[in-house]
């Protein structure tokens, strides 16, 4: 509101303290500007089209373009184009996926891992979000929330490295267990599905926590009090009131965590091992080696995109939502 007060003076006559016209006043009086502006804003329709130009260009060029291009390359037999060879249309890249275990196993492993990690993240963060929204005093909530936020501003690589130090053979966990006399030799946590899970949950928990928190924060306390007065036990209150009313948050949180966790590349490389290879590593392989494997990489990326968006679409449908406001 404060900003508007300073603008109450007539802009056409507005003058700077020195008695000279302000930049904006001068601009509105400038003949060239007036001509251009009146041509641009002649009709409502024209004004709308100008306003729409950059957004529509960006959305179709930068958001949709790469995805469409990726699908298209997946149908070619060679890309980038070679001299003297016209790329031919082929389905071989897509067929290759179904013919080799080397591809199918990491693919389903990725989906299974992401599913499991998402479920564990939900179980861990739900009580945290509930505690924050319902038990922490209003004025302290910001502080408690900030405490959770700070680690999540740190990048993927740095946090992955932190997990490596935690779980390594000479890491903190093994040292603690050894000094307690619980183990003789270090437990090999690293390069397994376990270390990968600890890392991925560490990276994604916030995307679950924030939607849950904002859903639970909106839940009115008196609903729970009324239910308690009517004789509902703690479990009934949770199952009949808290859970249904936080469904929105659960749906957004799970969607985000699932999609993001399938897309990590560096974390599985650093924390995972040969028996926990994920599909991101398979795809990346096609773009590392010299040679002409882009089309297959493109086809595989397309398969993964369809699968992940398909799974989340199905999930949102089951949760009774159409996916609107997913980003909130």
């Amino acid at each position: 509101m404060a900003h508007a007060d300073t603008d109450r003076a007539d802009l056409r006559k507005s003058t700077a303290p020195g008695g000279r016209m302000t930049f904006w006043g001068a601009l509105l009086h400038n003949g060239t500007y007036q001509a251009v502006a009146s041509a641009l804003f002649k009709t409502q329709r024209r004004q709308f089209l100008i306003l729409a130009s950059l957004p529509l260009f960006w959305i179709f060029f930068a958001n949709l373009g790469p995805i469409v291009e990726m699908f298209w390359i997946g149908f070619l037999d060679s890309y980038p184009p070679k001299v003297g060879h016209e790329p031919q249309f082929t389905l071989a890249n897509w067929a290759a996926f179904f013919q080799d275990q080397v591809f199918i196993v990491p693919f389903f492993r990725t989906l299974a891992f992401s599913f499991i990690f998402t479920a564990i993240t939900l179980l861990i963060t739900y009580p945290v979000a509930y505690f924050l929204a319902k038990h922490v005093k209003r004025k302290n909530q910001l502080l408690f929330l900030l405490l959770l936020l700070i680690p999540f501003w740190v990048g993927e690589i740095v946090r992955t490295y932190a997990i490596m130090i935690l779980l390594g053979n000479n890491g903190a966990v093994n040292l603690a267990l050894k000094s307690l006399g619980l183990i003789e030799r270090p437990i090999p946590f690293m390069y397994t599905g376990f270390s990968l899970g600890v890392g991925i949950i560490y990276l994604t928990a916030l995307y679950m926590l924030l939607p849950l928190y904002s859903a639970l924060e909106k839940l009115p306390d008196n609903y729970l009090e009324a239910a308690a007065d009517l004789g509902a036990g703690a479990w009934t209150r949770f199952r009949r009131i808290t859970l249904p009313l936080s469904k929105e948050g659960i749906a957004s949180g799970c969607t985000l965590v699932f999609l993001i966790s399938t897309g990590y590349y560096a974390t599985p490389v650093l924390l995972g091992g040969p028996r926990s290879t994920v599909f991101a590593e398979t795809i990346a392989g096609f773009f590392h080696v010299a040679g002409d494997q882009w089309p297959m990489g493109a086809a595989f990326s397309s398969i993964m995109l369809i699968a992940t968006l398909g799974v989340t679409g199905l999930f949102l449908k089951l949760m009774g939502r159409d996916g609107k406001g997913m980003m909130r």
């Binding site: 502006a37 957004p55 790469p66 945290v128 408690f144 993927e156 490295y161 590349y265 991101a280």
Partner: protein, 261 residues
């Protein structure tokens, strides 16, 4: 809510905080270890790794490179994201829901797929792997976040603001720059810092879209693959402190945004 569940939940909250902070604390601690060998126990301490990092010209130039990319990305993302928000926020037209969904698309596509798609796309529009390709990739990824934050702020602006400006003789352009833009300022600061963090921390896009010159996360990744060393801890700690400061600043300006409306 019984007393016991309340206690249980506070235990879970604090355990979760420990889970979040302990790995980072260990990483910071290890940067002061007086040995090349990462692991416990730590017998003697040193600041040598930090002095080495500050004098390492490679690290410094990579840092500058990452900063250049982050700042360029932020400026582009703010312009495009705000424009999209101003277009999609107040206007109603057929197919708006689809356009809105497409505008948000890059934010939900798994990172590796987005990186691969952009790598192929950069080849199509003839951009060499390197700084411009990374800036394009980061901008594509960041624009949805800016658009959403700005749209949220825009929806709280009273219509009378613009009407008053128009009555006083401003046309749409002047009204936007003198009335709407100042109103959006807190949202733009918050979204801008968030963009910088996203760009500076990003690995997967920088890795696939980059040329020979690495960004900071790519450099750390390369060093990690050739072995853990306290030097990496020192670099990471410096990055950690910077991101925490930037993040707190962004949080503060976003907080003011919510109070102001």
């Amino acid at each position: 809510m019984t007393r016991n569940t309340r206690i249980l939940m506070s235990v879970i909250y604090w355990a979760f905080i420990v889970y979040l902070f302990v790995p980072l604390a260990l990483m910071v601690t290890m940067g002061f270890k007086d040995s090349k060998f990462i692991g416990f126990p730590i017998r003697s301490w040193t600041l040598d790794w930090y002095t080495a990092v500050i004098q390492d010209t490679e690290v410094l130039s990579v840092f500058g490179y990452s900063m250049t990319i982050a700042i360029s990305t932020t400026i582009l993302s703010l312009i495009i994201g705000t424009w999209i928000a101003v277009f999609l926020g107040p206007n109603k037209f057929r197919g708006k829901a689809i356009i809105f969904a497409l505008a948000c698309l890059p934010a939900v596509i798994p990172g590796i797929i987005s990186a691969i798609a952009l790598r192929i796309f950069a080849r199509l529009i003839d951009i060499e792997p390197g700084m411009f390709a990374i800036i394009l990739g980061h901008t594509v990824h960041n624009v949805p976040f800016v658009a959403l934050v700005v749209m949220a702020r825009l929806s709280t602006q009273p219509k009378s603001h613009i009407e008053a400006a128009r009555d006083l003789g401003a046309d749409s352009i002047v009204a936007f720059f003198r009335v709407t833009l100042p109103y959006l300022k807190p949202a733009l600061i918050g979204a801008g810092i968030f963009c910088m963090l996203l760009s500076f921390d990003d690995f997967v896009r920088a890795f696939f879209l980059g040329g020979y010159q690495p960004t900071l996360p790519v450099l750390i990744f390369a060093k990690l693959r050739s072995g853990m060393s306290p030097e990496i801890n020192a670099i990471s700690t410096i990055v950690l402190i910077m991101t925490a400061i930037l993040g707190l600043w962004a949080e503060r300006s976003m907080r003011r945004l919510n109070k102001g409306s």
